[in-house]
């Protein structure tokens, strides 16, 4: 019997269907897809050449490490390792779980892949360039493979931060030797791990799709798909959140109050160990004269920046290490604004009428507002500060290589990790041309950094890190602004998994509340 419908029946049916769909409570759908906003696009998914926390978050979801952080806390649990033991200060032994397979048909994860993944950090990569994160594995002498599933990490020296910033974190992600041999430089965009998620799609500037790997050996992630959407503009992200386009986003601290008015939003605030500062290139004239740097430091009203740019929602930073971290310098001086002193310093430096200067900032409203306040402050001592606002890609290359020699002032924000050695490593002499945009070199600083990385004596480490911050203060290359506050908005039905540093998210542990 053939079914026949007339036009009215079709229209009635369509209307009923549409009404039904509209009335069906959204929460009644089972959620297996999570949409998260990224505040920039990805750049490189090779663990050794990743840019920052955004890439590391994906790496942690797609690959395995020997150990990983438990959900939301700084405690380790075994991941790829069936067992792992620190035998002594310079030896760590591990045995892998069996049957873990790399996505993309690249075979089983073995101790040889661990060796490949860790040792490559200290070997020249594409273009002969060493990894930006080489220092994470600086203490590694080599990985000895003792069996298909077992091996030993042999260290050159004691390395107290190794677990925190290397083995259990982004630099500890285990990649496939076979995949790297087969894909070459494509590994920057094609990631094949053995973790809970597989990288299913990456459309630059549009979306990154992580899909739960059915072959993953271990607890399955709650969400079958995680879609990451790069939305640079905070305001656009807020609108996307309100419209239900995204489920989770980081926020500027100043945006929290507004977002809290959205009944579908749960606001999460966490103390941060990030650090934001105005850096001064000490090699560039006239900033090579410390009196000019001191004048700038005395002229900029940091309290005004906190109030104006951050709406008073964050505390002022006095040094590199945030409170609570090993090496926090509790007695760090608070630089008071001193315009007559600043003018005198400029006059002594032969610039009584000021000079033209430039500050480079990322195109985020908070940073732009901070730069405008600095601009107004410096105008009072005759310094005509131009603000150069750059988008992500251009900004992050503006201090690197020879281009970085022309940088003057820059407003920078780095993500912190819970070991102080991660914070100090970017300011060593060998980072000039990479992430040390102030181009400040100090032999004592570098020596203390090595001590901090290699001694297990906590007191000695603390003393070293405090002394290093004193040296940074003496250089007057850094005007510390804030350690920020990490603020997130998630849908009320979502229970995100965020590590205490705020920047590190664990997609596989995001749950429905």
């Amino acid at each position: 019997m053939a079914l026949k419908f007339d036009r009215r029946q079709v229209l009635r049916g369509a209307a009923a269907g549409a009404a039904g769909a509209a009335l069906w409570p959204i929460d009644a759908f089972s959620r297996d897809r999570l949409v998260i906003r990224l505040d920039r696009d990805l750049q490189n998914l090779d663990p050794a050449y990743r840019i920052g926390p955004l890439e590391a978050n994906i790496l942690r979801g797609v690959t395995r490490r020997l150990v990983k952080f438990k959900p939301g806390v700084v405690e380790f649990e075994n991941d790829a390792a069936a067992s792992i033991k620190q035998v002594d200060d310079k030896l760590i032994e591990f045995t892998l779980k069996e049957g873990m397979r790399f996505q993309g048909g690249f075979g089983e994860l073995t101790a040889d892949d661990v060796k490949f993944s860790f040792e490559r950090f200290n070997q020249p990569g594409p273009g002969g360039k060493k990894s930006t994160y080489a220092k994470d594995w600086d203490a590694l002498d080599g990985v000895e493979v003792t069996g298909k599933y077992s091996g030993r990490l042999v260290l050159k020296r004691p390395a107290p931060a190794l677990w925190m910033i290397a083995i259990g974190d982004g630099s500890g992600c285990i990649v496939s030797r076979k995949a790297f041999d087969a894909l070459g430089e494509k590994t920057a965009v094609q990631l094949h791990g053995a973790g809970p998620y597989a990288l299913a799609e990456w459309v630059p500037n549009q979306r990154i799709l992580l899909r739960a790997d059915p072959n993953y050996v271990g607890p399955k992630p709650y969400f079958q798909e995680v879609v990451l959407r790069p939305i640079l503009e905070g305001k656009t992200a807020q609108l996307a959140f309100r419209s239900g386009e995204i489920d989770f986003t980081s926020l500027e601290p100043t945006e929290a109050a507004e977002m809290a008015r959205d009944p579908s939003a749960a606001i999460i605030k966490k103390d941060s160990i990030n650090y934001v500062w105005i850096g001064i290139n000490v090699e560039k004239k006239p900033y090579d004269d410390i009196r000019v740097r001191q004048a700038i430091q005395k002229a900029i009203d940091v309290d005004q920046v906190i109030l104006g740019a951050y709406d008073g929602t964050v505390a002022r930073a006095r040094s590199l290490m945030a409170p609570g971290l090993l090496g926090h310098w509790a007695d760090a001086p608070v630089i008071k604004r001193d315009l007559p002193g600043a003018k005198k310093l400029l006059a002594d430096a032969g610039l009584p009428n000021g000079f033209k200067a430039k500050i480079t900032v990322l195109n985020r409203p908070t940073f732009q507002a901070a730069a405008q306040i600095a601009q107004a402050n410096l105008a009072e001592i005759g310094v005509d500060l131009a603000i150069e606002v750059l988008d992500t890609g251009t900004y992050y290359s503006s201090g690197k290589g020879d281009v970085g020699k022309n940088l003057e002032l820059s407003l920078q924000r780095f993500g912190g990790k819970l070991d102080p050695g991660f914070q100090t490593q970017w300011f060593t002499g060998e980072q000039v041309g990479e992430w040390n945009w102030q181009r400040w070199r100090n032999d004592e600083f570098d020596r203390l950094d090595r001590i901090g990385q290699s001694t297990v004596d906590t007191k000695a480490r603390e003393a070293a890190y405090i002394r290093m911050q004193q040296l940074m203060a003496d250089s007057v290359a850094y005007i510390w602004l804030t350690h920020e506050v990490n603020v997130f908005a998630g849908k009320t039905w979502l229970r995100p998994s965020i590590l205490p540093n705020g920047d590190d998210w664990q997609y596989e542990h995001f749950l429905e509340a």
């Binding site: 005004q304 409203p365 107004a376 131009a386």
Partner: protein
């Protein structure tokens, strides 16, 4: 001149546009004397609403909005004047050369006009900003380039109309040089329509400048362009709507004023250019 002014004054829309345009130009010229420092920051007084102290409230850094709006008018007028002057001069020179010169000169100029004309104004301006970089000086050059063909085409059309006029033929027969004919006879005779076009282009120029500044490609901080005021206001819209309201209102008012004035000027100088029925 008095006839032209009288014609504009007799038109109700023209009178309205003229009064507003004069008020805007006046406030732009006298902004430094009418207001305080537009860049003075007062973070304790951010997002304040209108009051006796701050007639239009304050922005996200506590800067006085009235002062910034008036200084924004100054930037808008400066850009409009500079762009119109450059575009008018260059367009006239090229248009006259195309109209009066040989075909070898005319063709490349027309192709140039066609190329420039084929892009929407803002898109073309964005492309040029990508090459020249942001900044107010570059915005003047860029916007001048985008509106210049309009002047050039009008100039060429007017020259073609005049080229074989009897009085010019007489001049040639009497042995007048080309330069004399162009500067003494052609340009004065085509000036009317070009001035009308200049008046009509002002609102477009103001809008493009504001658009580029809104996108962060025009006026640099701390300059107070209406576009940057709108952008900053949009960013902090949830904290205060006043910056967007006042900057938007001024932009709309200025555009309306110069459009009405331009139309009245057109009707007064050259009624044949009217496009309305």
């Amino acid at each position: 001149m008095s006839t032209i002014f009288g014609h504009i004054w007799r038109s109700s829309t023209g009178k309205f546009g003229l009064i507003l345009a004069v008020a805007i130009i006046g406030s732009a010229v006298f902004a430094p004397w009418l207001t305080g420092d537009p860049n003075r920051i007062d973070v304790l007084n951010r997002f304040a609403g209108p009051s006796w102290q701050h007639w239009m409230g304050t922005d996200h850094l506590g800067r006085d909005l009235f002062s910034r709006i008036l200084h924004g008018a100054r930037i808008a007028m400066e850009v409009a004047a500079a762009v119109t002057a450059i575009a008018l001069s260059l367009g006239t020179v090229l248009g006259v050369a195309a109209g009066y010169g040989p075909r070898q000169v005319e063709r490349p100029i027309l192709i140039l006009f066609d190329i420039l004309y084929s892009f929407p104004n803002l898109i073309f301006a964005l492309a040029l900003v990508a090459i020249l970089g942001p900044g107010l000086e570059n915005v003047v050059i860029i916007v001048a380039m985008t509106v210049m063909p309009h002047f050039g085409r009008i100039a060429r059309a007017q020259v073609l109309r005049l080229k074989h006029a009897p009085f010019l033929e007489a001049e040639r027969v009497l042995g007048a040089s080309t330069a004399r004919i162009v500067f003494r006879h052609v340009i004065p005779n085509i000036a009317g329509p070009l001035i009308v076009v200049a008046g009509m282009e002002v609102p477009a120029v103001i809008t493009i400048e504001a658009g580029l500044s809104f996108l962060g490609l025009g006026a640099r901080p701390p300059l107070a362009s209406w576009g940057t005021l709108l952008h900053d206001g949009y960013t902090y819209l949830s904290q205060s709507a006043w910056p967007v309201f006042f900057a938007g209102m001024m932009l709309t008012t200025a555009t309306l004023a110069f459009t009405l004035f331009g139309e009245a000027l057109r009707d007064a100088i050259d009624p044949r250019l009217r496009t309305d029925p």
